[in-house]
């Protein structure tokens, strides 16, 4: 919500910025003699998380700024290393079949916890804290957005849907609710042993244990304080490297190291997270020395790349995000695969990246992005830019030179860089295919509604990883019953293949199955894949130890390894 209006405004201010900034280039932005080897005395890190987080409650949160803060204040059973493989956090080790963490049939997880993990108030973190957290996540009264991610746990879906639907409401009594809650397959066997029981084996379940909705939370604190426990620093008790000392709504959050943290003691003494929604204003703050890190408004990228001082401070991190044009596969003319293929081959992706995105991002011809297991570098090349072949394909489809096509509307949310992308696409299809498409910018929520109702013809689409597993990328979008399948693409062979891959325990076999699945999708081409996004931030040269991963939050770069950051004298 805030993002949409924010993006609209960013787009407006981005039109202005190049001319204005050019006249005010401040060479003082990167001070003299940055990296001198001495530690800064204050060790205060100032960053921006793009807005006021809607909630800081780990079980109830879904938005990116929330996840950024939660990842500093809490640590879960597992976490991701920078190569996106799993590592143990509060758990003693990553559960596998060989170490007994996962049963042979893949349905039971027995996880041993460390016994030296403490909350910021000194109490010890136990398996009960995890059990409570998972059950709270699934409580229908909490209405958590991420609850459905954990429906793989036995009894989870039954508990979460216990109150029924609008047309068929249910009112179970307290005893029934209690028994449904007890039936959820998560149990604290003792203080340091946690057991999960799954309905079906799922090879991506360990990844889910590294996400924010299932970090441990304090039952006693939450029951005493109620649902506002997360916005009051006094009750926002966590087990992560930092603890929150100040939360001024719409202004900033202050964090200091958690003295009881079980891991590496953070070197930073204070983190201030601002809530500036306007990316251009935040970039100005960075140039004024009010921030230590900042995203760069797209329009300023060329200027940054040409400035020798600023160029040194650039950090580029791939994001696990792919953007595409999705077609309604059930409406003419996009029900014809040749037409979809022609459109794919009529779009010059490299020029789009170079000219429209100022070099930020990478062309994509498949769905799973680089940096993730399951990425296939050579997949989809047959649909890459090739104007002569595109013309031939559209003629083969029965529309030589694009004549005879029904009117085509391209719908998109009128925010961010979408208008430019749409205009570029329109020009490409005109030049390379002779096809006229009509652009229809829409208000963001209205656009989402239209796509959801599957009444569109061709629309922008994008997907960002919730966790780095093909399980998160293919079934939702391309499965016949996928919740986010707006193309109405349906391939029963693919559905079977994806079902098999989801339960396959052997990692190599699993990746092979997913590779085959993605190949099927790319061959059928229900969408035209365009590009992968990339993070483009400026970091002051005195900031050291910043470790970025492809799974970082958009709001805060390097959030998973903030305990390693330190500042030199500046």
């Amino acid at each position: 919500m805030t993002r949409r209006s924010r993006r609209l405004l960013s787009f407006l201010t981005c039109l202005l910025l190049p001319a204005l900034l050019l006249s005010a280039c401040a060479p003082a932005a990167s001070g003299p003699g940055g990296a001198s080897g001495d530690l800064d005395a204050n060790q205060e890190y100032r960053a921006n998380i793009d807005g006021d987080p809607p909630s800081l409650d780990p079980n109830a949160s879904a938005w990116d700024p929330s996840i950024a803060v939660i990842s500093l204040v809490f640590k879960g059973l597992l976490r991701f290393k920078d190569d996106l493989t799993l590592d143990a956090a509060v758990a003693k080790e990553v559960p596998t079949i060989s170490n007994g963490g996962i049963s042979a049939d893949g349905k039971t997880y027995t996880i041993k916890l460390r016994n030296d993990v403490k909350w910021s108030d000194g109490k010890v973190v136990t398996a009960k804290d995890f059990e409570y957290s998972v059950k709270r996540l699934l409580d229908p009264k909490l209405a958590a957005a991420y609850a459905s991610f954990y429906y793989g746990i036995a009894g989870a879906e039954a508990y979460n849907s216990a109150l029924g639907t609008k047309s068929a409401p249910k009112s179970p009594d307290a005893a029934t609710m209690a028994s449904l809650r007890d039936a959820v397959g998560v149990k604290a066997v003792d203080d340091t042993t946690l057991k999960f029981t799954l309905a079906d084996p799922s090879s991506s379940f360990p990844s889910l244990l590294a996400l924010h909705p299932v970090v441990p939370v304090r039952q006693d604190v939450i029951e005493a304080k109620g649902d506002t426990w997360a916005s009051d620093p006094a009750s926002y008790v966590g087990n992560g490297p930092y603890k929150m000392t100040e939360y001024v709504s719409k202004d900033h959050i202050t964090l200091v190291p958690n003295d009881n943290y079980f891991g590496n003691k953070p070197k930073l003494k204070k983190i201030t997270l601002f809530m500036v929604e306007n990316i251009t204003a935040n970039y100005a703050a960075f140039q004024n020395g009010e921030r230590d890190i900042s995203r760069v408004p797209p329009a300023s990228v060329p200027q940054v790349m040409q400035d020798p001082n600023l160029k040194e401070q650039v950090v580029r991190v791939p994001r696990l995000a792919t953007f595409a044009m999705q077609f309604n596969n059930k409406i003419a003319p996009f029900d014809n695969p040749k037409v979809r293929q022609a459109f794919s081959m009529a779009f010059d992706r490299q020029t789009y990246i170079d000219k429209v995105r100022n070099g930020v991002g990478r062309p994509a011809v498949s769905w799973i992005p680089p940096g993730m297991p399951g990425y296939q570098a050579d997949l989809g090349k047959q649909w890459d830019f090739n104007p002569s072949k595109a013309k031939q394909l559209i003629a083969d489809a029965g529309y030589p030179d694009g004549k005879g096509l029904p009117p085509i509307s391209f719908q998109y949310a009128n925010a961010g860089a979408n208008p430019q992308t749409a205009q570029y696409a329109q020009a490409q299809f005109k030049d390379n295919l002779g096809v006229d498409i009509k652009l229809e910018p829409m208000e963001a929520a209205e656009f989402t509604k239209l796509v959801g109702s599957k009444k569109y013809q061709v629309a922008m689409a994008g997907w960002t990883a919730d966790y780095p597993d093909p399980d998160n990328w293919l079934p939702e979008t391309f499965g016949s019953n996928g919740g986010s399948n707006y193309t109405q693409y349906s391939n029963p062979k693919l559905d079977d293949l994806m079902k098999k891959a989801a339960v396959e325990q052997d990692p190599k076999k699993r990746l092979d199955l997913w590779a085959e699945a993605q190949k099927m999708v790319v061959e059928d081409l229900p969408m035209v894949f365009l590009f992968n996004d990339e993070r483009f931030v400026l970091v002051k040269s005195y900031v050291k130890g910043l470790k970025t991963t492809a799974i970082d939050t958009q709001a805060l770069t390097g959030n998973h390894f903030m305990d390693q950051v330190y500042l030199l004298k500046h």
Partner: protein, 305 residues
């Protein structure tokens, strides 16, 4: 006069009811809901969310609940701020937005009235043309352009001021100017026109003929009479300034209520939209009442019963 005041205050209640009904209807007519996401939420999750916020009840029941709760001061919980209730969001943000608005209003009044008065008294001089130029530029420059230019010059360029935020007095300067510039320009033009109109009145000629000093003519006759059309404009202008500007609060990252209306609509945050609209309606009603009362002070011909 007192009974007039009380009557006006009481009229606000049916006004707010009508506004709330219209807003509620329009809100639910607009396509899209608060839980629509590009990555669709699971149906059971949507059901839970709708139940949590009473969105699964029939519309008339939802409206009734809203009116009942609102009359007890409970405006509901904002969907985009899951543990903060709407009344709290407004009460926390309004003082900030109002402060900014009042400073901007003061700026607009001083600059606008001053320029307008001077250009009317020195009609067709270089001062008059300068103020015309200022008024045209001020009225046509979008305030976010002014805001960005000031940030670039005073923060990024000269490092004199912080780029945004709220808390210290120097953080009011740039947003107040950006917010108050266009109103200042309007006020300058209106003041000029009104003063010129007053100057041409017979009683001014009489006052001068009587031998009154120019200063007395100004303070005793011109200002009071010229103010009436200005005050008419001031009511809505004050209401607009005091309820905040989305753009200014966005660019300067000010934790006020200027953004809640636009953000509420974008996110289909029904509770926030209703709360914001009702609050604005209340402010506008009060501002108009204040304007009407000030008329009574300025113009003795106007008397309320």
């Amino acid at each position: 006069m007192a009974s007039y005041f009380i009557r006006r205050i009481l009229w606000i209640i049916p006004l707010l009811l009508v506004v709330s009904l219209i807003t509620f209807g329009l809100m639910h007519l607009v396509p899209g809901g608060p839980w629509d996401r590009e990555k669709a939420l699971a149906p059971a999750v949507v059901d839970n969310l709708n139940r949590k916020y009473n969105l699964d009840r029939p519309l008339w029941e939802q409206y009734g609940l809203f009116v009942w709760n609102a009359s007890h001061g409970d405006l509901g919980i904002s969907y985009s701020s899951q543990d903060k209730n709407v009344a709290e969001i407004i009460m926390r943000g309004f003082p900030i937005t109002a402060t900014l608005g009042l400073v901007a209003l003061a700026f607009a009044l001083i600059v606008g009235l001053g320029l307008g008065l001077v250009s009317a008294l020195r009609q067709n001089s270089w001062l008059d043309y300068l103020s015309l130029f200022f008024a045209t530029v001020g009225a046509s420059t979008p305030n976010f352009v002014v805001a960005m230019v000031m940030i670039i010059v005073f923060s990024v360029g000269l490092h004199l001021l912080k780029t945004g935020g709220w808390g210290s007095p120097d953080q009011v300067i740039m947003p107040a100017i950006a917010l108050g510039l266009t109103p200042a320009a309007f006020l300058a033009r209106i003041t000029r026109a009104s003063v010129l109109e007053t100057l041409s009145q017979d009683y001014i000629r009489t006052a001068r003929a009587k031998g009154l000093s120019e200063r007395l003519v100004l303070t005793r006759h011109i200002v009071k009479n010229a103010l009436i059309p200005i005050v008419t404009v001031l009511g809505p202008m004050a209401a607009y300034l005091v309820t905040g500007s989305f753009i200014i609060e966005n660019v300067f990252s000010i934790p006020g209520i200027g953004r809640i209306f636009v953000q509420g609509i974008g996110g289909r945050d029904y509770a926030l939209i209703m709360g914001a609209v009702l609050f604005y309606a209340l402010i506008v009603a009060l501002a108009n009442l204040a304007v009407d009362l000030i008329y009574g002070v300025l113009d003795p011909r106007i008397r309320y019963s």
